[in-house]
Structures are given as structure tokens and as C-alpha cells.
């Protein structure tokens, strides 16, 4: 009998300049938390090696329910995708302690 509960994992990889606006937004949209790591990479905006200020990227992951996941993805699509180097994806995972993540 599994001890995990279905949950969405939203992952956003974006310019570091967006770290604090994104953090504010996802909390406002109903997430109960998030986790951020420093990353580097390459995409349609070219290489982002993370060596200096304007070249840094972050990877934010948010565990949340389906509804919040949609709210977050729609929001970043509307507000940030056009002008910023970023990608986002959603996965289905099973969380422990479900009550931490649902509204």
C-alpha cells in the first residue's frame, strides 16, 4: 500500500532576475512552498553560463495541486514567457504528507 499521494510538480527554469518575482507569484497563486537551485544552460536565447550577474539561471520546483499548477503555468505564460529566457514543465509525482501541498 503506497504512502504517497498524487500531486503536481511544476518546474520553472528561468533567468535569475525572476527568482524573487516568481517566488512571490507562486505563493500568491496558492503554492505552500518552493525550492530553488542555481543552474546554467542553453536554449533559444543562447548559452547562459552562470558566470556573472546577468548570465545566471535558476530552477524552481513547486509541489502543488492540479488547480494551483494550472494557475502557475498560465500565469508565467502570460506574464513572463514573452520577454524572458525560460522554460517550464509539469510532472505527476506522489508526495508524502499530502496536507502540506493542497489548498
Amino acid at each position: 500500500m503506497p504512502n504517497t499521494h498524487p500531486c503536481k510538480l511544476v518546474v520553472i527554469i528561468a533567468e535569475e532576475a525572476l527568482e524573487s518575482p516568481l517566488a512571490k507569484d507562486v505563493m500568491a497563486l496558492g503554492a505552500h512552498g518552493y525550492t530553488v537551485a542555481d543552474v546554467r544552460g542553453r536554449g533559444s536565447h543562447g548559452s547562459r553560463s552562470g558566470a556573472w550577474d546577468a548570465d545566471k539561471s535558476i530552477r524552481m520546483e513547486i509541489l502543488c495541486d492540479e488547480q494551483t499548477s494550472q494557475a502557475i503555468t498560465r500565469h508565467v505564460e502570460d506574464k513572463y514567457f514573452r520577454h524572458y529566457a525560460m522554460v517550464a514543465f509539469v510532472a505527476d509525482v506522489g508526495v508524502l504528507r499530502r496536507e502540506k501541498f493542497v489548498r
Binding site: A17, S47, A51, W52, D53, A54, K56
Partner: protein, 312 residues
């Protein structure tokens, strides 16, 4: 030969040759924290010796310079260069603001030649950091969008960005602690300064060469702007320096500040305030062209300009 440009060139060459040399990201941050604090402290220490009544009018003129430069740069970029409003305004903002490292290299230029200068000049560095950025943002938002500027977060970004806090904070601490209070910090903040600057320039060389690929797509106009604009601004700076009564050394520093373009504070502020602007353009201009131009060719050139102004 002076070591500073050599370190920049080493970094530049290493990256062009695709060496795997990397300066770790947190070392870069550590070095820039150090440089900002040290410059602030030194300026503040000297400010303590100054008569405020003498410095105030100078300070106001200097801030005026920070407003005028982007107002000149914008039409050049928008009309002549046919960039769209957002990009023209964002780039103008970068050139209105200043580069701390270029300033440090110019100070070193004076020290190496024993040319005296007003030691409180870092104050002007602080004062010039933000007006240009603010004017750039206003220019981007002119015509309808004006209301959409959220001034709260913006002023916050500008005044509380890391470079303002460290430079300005250093200035205040230096001013409050005075030469005696700072004496025990001498070995760390002042004697190591040039070595740290060299390491930072190595990294700047790596970064600039890493962005050099973007030159191709940015077009000849932008490259021309990134060389011509600093010279124009340096002339304005030199005139302003003479006008407010700075020494030749101080005037060279002011001209260099005017000529320099921001690649730390301005990109961060513009990214949030004018996201429509393509950061590749402004960074290529400021970092790949203007920065090396200034430290390798510009500073000696501005020295000549200052000599002309002073009729030497």
C-alpha cells in the same frame, strides 16, 4: 607595462581560444562585493575631510550629467540607429549609469602616474549610478505606458540594488569611521585592492569574450555607438569637471565615469523595469565594446581630452 589590461587580455584570449578556465560564480560575486565596498570606504574616508558646502554644488552638477547623457544617447539610438523605443531607452540608461571597474582602472592610471585627484570622487560614482537608469526607464515608458511604471519596486531596485548598498554603505561607513577607524582595515581593503582588481579583470575578459559572439548579430551601428558615445560623454564629463573646478586628475575620473557604461546595476534594473528590451544588445555594447575600449584606449584618450580642456 601596466598589469591591469594584461589580465583582461589574458581572460579574453583564454575564452576566445576556448580554454576551460572558469572563475567560479561565487568568487566573481566575492570579488565584486570587495571592490564595491573598498571603493566606497576609500571615498567616504576622504569625504570626512571635505567641506560639505563645497561638495554639494559639485554633486548636483554631476547628477545633472547623469541625466543629460542618456537624453543624448536615446535619440541617437532611436532615430539614427532605428532601434525600437524599448531597446534605445534601455541602452541609453546603461550609458547614463557608470562602471565601477572602469572607475577603478582610471584611479589606478592616476596613481601609476602620480597625478593627484580629489579623493572623494567615489561619491560621484555613487551619485552617477542611478539617475541614468531612472532616465532610461522613463524614456522606455514614455507615451501612454507612463502610468504602467510601478515606481515602488523600481526605486527599490535602483536604490537597494547590491552595488548601491555596498558603494553607498561603504561611503557612509568610511565617512563615519574616518581615517583612524579605517586604519586597521588598510591591509585588507586598500593594500589588496589592485590584486583583486586584476583577478576581476581576468574574469571580465572571460565574460566579455564569451559574449563577443553576439557582436555579429548586433550590427555595425551598435559597435560604432559603443565607441563614439563614450568619447562624446567623456568630452561632456571633462567640461563638467573643469566647470565645477576639479583638478585635472579629478576631471579625468569624471570624464571616465561619464564615458563608462554600467553592466551590473543597469542590466539588473532594466531586466525588471523594461523586460521588452533585449539584454543581449545593451550588454554587448557596454561590456564587449565599451568596457575594453575604455580600459585599453579610452582612459589615455580622455587624459588628452582633459589636457586640451585645461589648455596644458
Amino acid at each position: 607595462m601596466d598589469a591591469i589590461p594584461l589580465f583582461f587580455m589574458l581572460g579574453f584570449a583564454a575564452r576566445l581560444a576556448r580554454s576551460d578556465l572558469k572563475i567560479p560564480g561565487q568568487l566573481y560575486e566575492a570579488l565584486s562585493i570587495y571592490l564595491l565596498l573598498a571603493i566606497g570606504l576609500k571615498g567616504g574616508m576622504e569625504l570626512a575631510r571635505q567641506d560639505p558646502l563645497e561638495v554639494l554644488p559639485q554633486a548636483l552638477s554631476v547628477m545633472g550629467l547623469g541625466v543629460v547623457i542618456p537624453l543624448i544617447a536615446f535619440p541617437i539610438l532611436y532615430k539614427l540607429g532605428r532601434l525600437d523605443r524599448h531597446n534605445a531607452a534601455a541602452i541609453a540608461g546603461h550609458y547614463g549609469s557608470v562602471s565601477v571597474v572602469t572607475f577603478a582602472v582610471a584611479v589606478d592610471y592616476l596613481l601609476a602616474r602620480d597625478i593627484p585627484y580629489e579623493a572623494y570622487l567615489p561619491l560621484f560614482l555613487v551619485l552617477l549610478e542611478m539617475p541614468g537608469i531612472a532616465v532610461g526607464i522613463l524614456l522606455a515608458r514614455m507615451g501612454g505606458e507612463m502610468r504602467s511604471i510601478k515606481w515602488g519596486p523600481l526605486l527599490h531596485e535602483i536604490f537597494l540594488g547590491k552595488s548601491m548598498v555596498l558603494l553607498g554603505g561603504g561611503l557612509l561607513i568610511g565617512w563615519a569611521a574616518g581615517p583612524d577607524g579605517l586604519a586597521p582595515l588598510q591591509p585588507f581593503f586598500f593594500e589588496l585592492f589592485k590584486g583583486v582588481l586584476c583577478l576581476f579583470l581576468l574574469e571580465m575578459g572571460l565574460v566579455a569574450a564569451g559574449q563577443a559572439g553576439a557582436l555579429r548579430s548586433s550590427g555595425a551601428f551598435l559597435v560604432g555607438f559603443a565607441i563614439g558615445m563614450p568619447i562624446l560623454s567623456a568630452v561632456l564629463g571633462a567640461l563638467a569637471g573643469a566647470f565645477i573646478g576639479l583638478s585635472a586628475g579629478g576631471t579625468l575620473l569624471l570624464a571616465t565615469l561619464a564615458a563608462s557604461a554600467s553592466y551590473i546595476a543597469a542590466p539588473a534594473a532594466m531586466r525588471i523595469a523594461v523586460p521588452e528590451a533585449n539584454p543581449g544588445l545593451s550588454i554587448t555594447a557596454a561590456l564587449v565594446v565599451t568596457f575594453p575600449f575604455n580600459i585599453l584606449i579610452g582612459i589615455p584618450l580622455y587624459d588628452r581630452i582633459v589636457s586640451l580642456v585645461y589648455g596644458v
